[in-house]
């Protein structure tokens, strides 16, 4: 807030201005720490609250109560004194004995600095959805469709939504609330999954509000008269040079199709781990979420002192848990910075700990309900492109795996899959699960893809002219 504080070297750098990052930055700054909050987007909010400050009241209400809640968080952040650098990309992180070396750029000028505390709040990304034709123009992820709706109020009429997961329902509901017609919803959720999920995770039934929210979205779809197909077993986007339709296969083995120029795909979100992986932090394979998750203690502290992971980036748990996990990590960070005693930190974290526990009880239920089917995670059709950047097909990968290249890193070196500009964000999990599927090895026992700086691309000039700071006083 004050010029004096801006000139200080930051004590803590937070990566990501979503619910977890904003909570962490606000708490640290309110306690007097010099905080730098780095985020790629033009405004705070993360994916869930994207554009919340700029949105009109009408727009906010269409997007729902959870979206509107973002205003509280952005206001708190603005008042906290944390320095927020929007439009900033973090491209490097490596742990030091305590703290870390961290590199970021505003697109013109790259910096590299050391800092005692880093909290990664990099959130989630959508799970890849490798089906035939998913690379055609006109096909987009549901998250991408939501981004357009939130940031520029753009919506495509007559789109087909396909897949599974709460975000699929939410965005369909947001489309319908905005008065945009939807051609069909093709659900890949396994038939009977809801009942099985409830059976296996009865704790969720103690939170009827959440269940009600889900059922309310489904009811909205039905009320709007949208064609809603459940139990889809196979999907194929049709078209030569752009999407012209989508075909689906039911349990009877027959393919049916519908014409559309817009296909929105989604099958859940997974932690964004490129940065935590590149930092060499320990990760574990989560068999419920079918994804890699950084190993942390209950404070979000990783194996490297001063390096924390909070929010969905530390395992998918939703925005409320993310906000609480950001708060808890901030208390632990204040202890590290000598600004809070461990006893006080435990006390202050107690309410957030309870929120995290409550949200955590729901997670097994949601994970089981919306578990993406293997057929959509490991492509059956050998022609299906897995690595979009290098255009490597499932068939090419399988041939290489059959030759004994049974690890993602070997597969990458051999086929170039995962080497492109997206830095494997859209194929790392598919590579991993394809290897597990074909070799019969448990996914958790296969070494994950290795990530290296730059974790996001940056120009040769940015790298060649980068500034090396011991502190990072001048952003």
């Amino acid at each position: 807030m004050s010029a004096a504080r801006d000139a200080q070297a930051p004590e803590a750098i937070i990566v990501g201005a979503g619910p977890a990052g904003m909570a962490a930055a606000s708490i640290l700054a309110e306690a007097g720490a010099a905080v730098l909050l780095l985020d790629e987007n033009p405004a705070p909010g993360g994916q869930i609250w994207r554009g919340v400050d700029a949105a009109t009241a009408v727009h906010r209400s269409r997007l729902g109560a959870d979206y509107a809640a973002g205003r509280r968080a952005t206001r708190r952040l603005a008042a906290s004194g944390a320095r927020h650098l929007p439009g900033t990309t973090v491209w490097q992180l490596s742990p030091l004995v305590t703290g870390a070396e961290i590199g970021w750029t505003d697109g013109q000028r790259a910096r590299l600095a050391t800092v005692p505390v880093v909290i990664l709040a990099t959130g989630a990304q959508e799970r890849p959805f490798p089906i035939a034709g998913w690379t055609l123009p006109g096909v987009m992820s549901v998250g991408g469709a939501q981004t357009l709706l939130k940031s520029s109020s753009l919506a495509a009429e007559g789109a087909v939504f396909a897949g599974t997961g709460p975000l699929l329902y939410l965005v369909v509901a947001q489309y319908l609330a905005a008065g945009v017609p939807v051609a069909a919803v093709l659900e890949t959720t396994a038939p009977g999954a809801l009942g099985r999920a409830a059976w296996s995770a009865p704790a969720a039934l103690r939170r009827p509000a959440l269940l009600a929210k889900g059922l309310q979205w489904i009811a909205a779809i039905r009320r709007a008269g949208v064609r809603h197909i459940r139990g889809v077993r196979g999907l194929r986007v049709l078209g030569e040079t752009a999407a012209t339709g989508i075909a689906w296969r039911m349990g009877d083995g027959r393919w049916r199709e519908i014409a559309t120029e817009h296909v929105f795909l989604h099958q859940g979100v997974v932690p964004s781990v490129n940065l935590s992986m590149a930092a060499g932090l320990a990760h574990r394979w989560c068999p419920q979420q079918l994804a890699w998750v950084p190993r942390t203690d209950a404070w979000g502290q990783t194996g490297s002192p001063g390096l924390f992971v909070a929010g969905d980036g530390a395992g998918i748990a939703g925005w409320q848990a993310a906000e609480a996990r950001g708060a808890v990590a901030a208390q632990a960070a204040l202890v590290r910075l000598g600004r809070l005693s461990p006893v006080q930190a435990r006390l202050r974290a107690a309410p957030d700990r309870r929120r995290i526990a409550a949200e955590g009880r729901l997670r097994p239920f949601l994970d089981a309900w919306f578990r993406p089917a293997e057929a959509f995670r490991v492509p059956e059709d050998p022609e299906t492109v897995v690595c979009r950047c290098e255009e490597i097909t499932a068939g090419a990968l399988r041939a290489a795996i059959a030759q004994g290249l049974a690890g993602p890193n070997q597969l990458k070196s051999f086929t170039r899959a995962g080497m492109g500009p997206c830095q494997a964000r859209s194929c790392a999990l598919t590579l991993h699960e394809t290897i597990a599927h074909q070799t019969g090895r448990p996914a958790g026992q296969i070494e994950p893809l290795r990530f290296r700086p730059p974790v996001k691309p940056l120009s040769i000039s940015e790298l060649a002219d980068m500034t090396f700071d011991d502190g990072a006083g001048h952003g």
């Binding site: 070997q410 290296r452 060649a464």
Partner: protein, 399 residues
């Protein structure tokens, strides 16, 4: 895994796989013991330079011999290895660099090597229109190029396997001791007995050599590389610099691969590497100085692989002090191109034949004894060939 072989090759990089290929082709029973995965370190992640240009004089004959293998790499390993023949230029950005290049070419001609030449500014402009105006000439060779390093190492491995070699990954070698007329190696997967050990352990080769009785000072470093997102055609040659660390090429997909030997940190115990971002900045600045159009190109990945460097940056190739040991390691970040030829030399050394090329400059003992003794060691090296072959036959190991 209790395994018996004629030859245990320790280290499954390209040199280990090449040695295994040549030895298996000659009928020996070979087992390759690789602690990680084949091509996991320098062999799989280097710049893939198939280069004779600019090598130390001592290495030139070996590089020229290897180039003959590269001309028909498919014939050797049954895979194209992503090998592209092109031209290689090391640009000069000062008169001093250019005249040093001219002197070098003259020395090579005296030795009978005519592949390198010097080109002036007009020719450089014609070959490299995107080069900066201050590039005034280059050391030049036709026919050098590059290959896909991981693919190449995998191809050597597969060819060796088809010839009967066994490749054991995840098989670190522990204690090694003489037993009878051969060696017994304890490995992570059981014991291996073999008449001969071939040490192609790369950056880990110095430690293995010490256990086998040879002191070779070796430093581990992690030369770094970076690659851009695909660009429109910019450069149709492999380009280095005479005055700075740089090696640059544009791959078939348009991505520009930039390296040049600037090193990151290597951890031998874990096999991990850490990039040195200051060093990365330095060679990217060099790349931009030579090709200004690269300024806005986006770097999408950078990486490093662990390599062993000798004090004189020449490899160690030769018989060890102990019976039944052949070393081929310490290639100091320029061994990739040499591999097809070095494998043949190693096979000769194992068999006790005198290799086709003089390897005196690469003698393992050169760091631990006065230089005057080198030649006498080499003269004695071939003497026990008959004895060794008798050993193979006597054991029933040889097929």
């Amino acid at each position: 895994m209790a395994e018996t072989a004629d030859i245990a090759v320790v280290g499954g990089g390209i040199h280990g796989c090449s040695a295994a290929l040549h030895l298996a082709a000659r009928g020996y029973r070979v087992v390759v013991l690789e602690k990680d995965r084949v091509g996991a370190h320098a062999s799989g992640v280097n710049a893939g330079g198939v280069r004779r240009l600019g090598r130390a004089t001592a290495e030139v004959p070996l590089a020229v011999a290897a180039a003959a293998y590269w001309q028909d790499i498919r014939g050797l390993v049954d895979d194209a290895c992503g090998h592209r023949v092109s031209r290689y230029l090391k640009v000069a950005r000062s008169e001093a660099e250019l005249s040093a290049a001219e002197r070098r070419v003259a020395v090579l001609r005296q030795q009978g090597f005519t592949h390198e030449g010097v080109i002036g500014p007009e020719e450089l402009r014609r070959l490299l229109p995107a080069a900066a105006p201050d590039c005034i000439g280059a050391l030049h060779v036709e026919g050098d190029g590059y290959a896909n390093p991981f693919r190449t190492t995998a191809a050597f491995r597969r060819r060796a396997e088809r010839l009967g070699a066994r490749v054991c990954e995840g098989t670190a070698v522990g204690a090694v001791r003489r037993e009878g007329s051969g060696w017994r190696l304890e490995t992570a997967r059981g014991e291996v007995t073999a008449a001969e050990i071939v040490n192609t352990a790369g950056a880990w080769g110095g430690a293995l050599a010490a256990r086998l009785g040879d002191r070779v000072p070796l430093e581990a470093h992690a030369p770094m590389l970076a690659v851009t997102a695909p660009l429109t055609p910019l450069v149709d040659a492999v380009v280095g610099s005479l005055g700075a660390a740089l090696s640059l090429k544009q791959l078939p997909n348009g991505a520009v691969l930039i390296g040049g030997g600037v090193r990151g940190r290597a951890e031998l115990a874990s096999g991990r590497t850490t990039l040195d971002l200051r060093g990365l900045a330095q060679f990217l600045a060099t790349a931009r100085a030579v090709f200004p159009a690269l300024a806005q190109a986006r770097i999408v990945r950078s990486w490093a692989g662990i390599e062993g460097y000798t004090p004189d940056h020449l490899p160690v190739i030769g018989r060890g002090t102990a019976e039944g040991v052949v070393h081929a390691f310490g290639f100091s970040a320029h061994g990739f191109q040499l591999a097809p030829a070095v494998g043949a030399m190693v096979a000769d050394l194992v068999e006790g034949r005198t290799p086709a090329l003089d390897l005196a400059e690469f003698a393992p003992g050169r760091f631990s004894e006065p230089s005057g003794l080198r030649t006498s060691r080499r003269a004695g090296a071939g003497s026990s060939r008959a004895a060794r072959q008798a050993r193979f036959r006597g054991s029933g190991w040889s097929r």
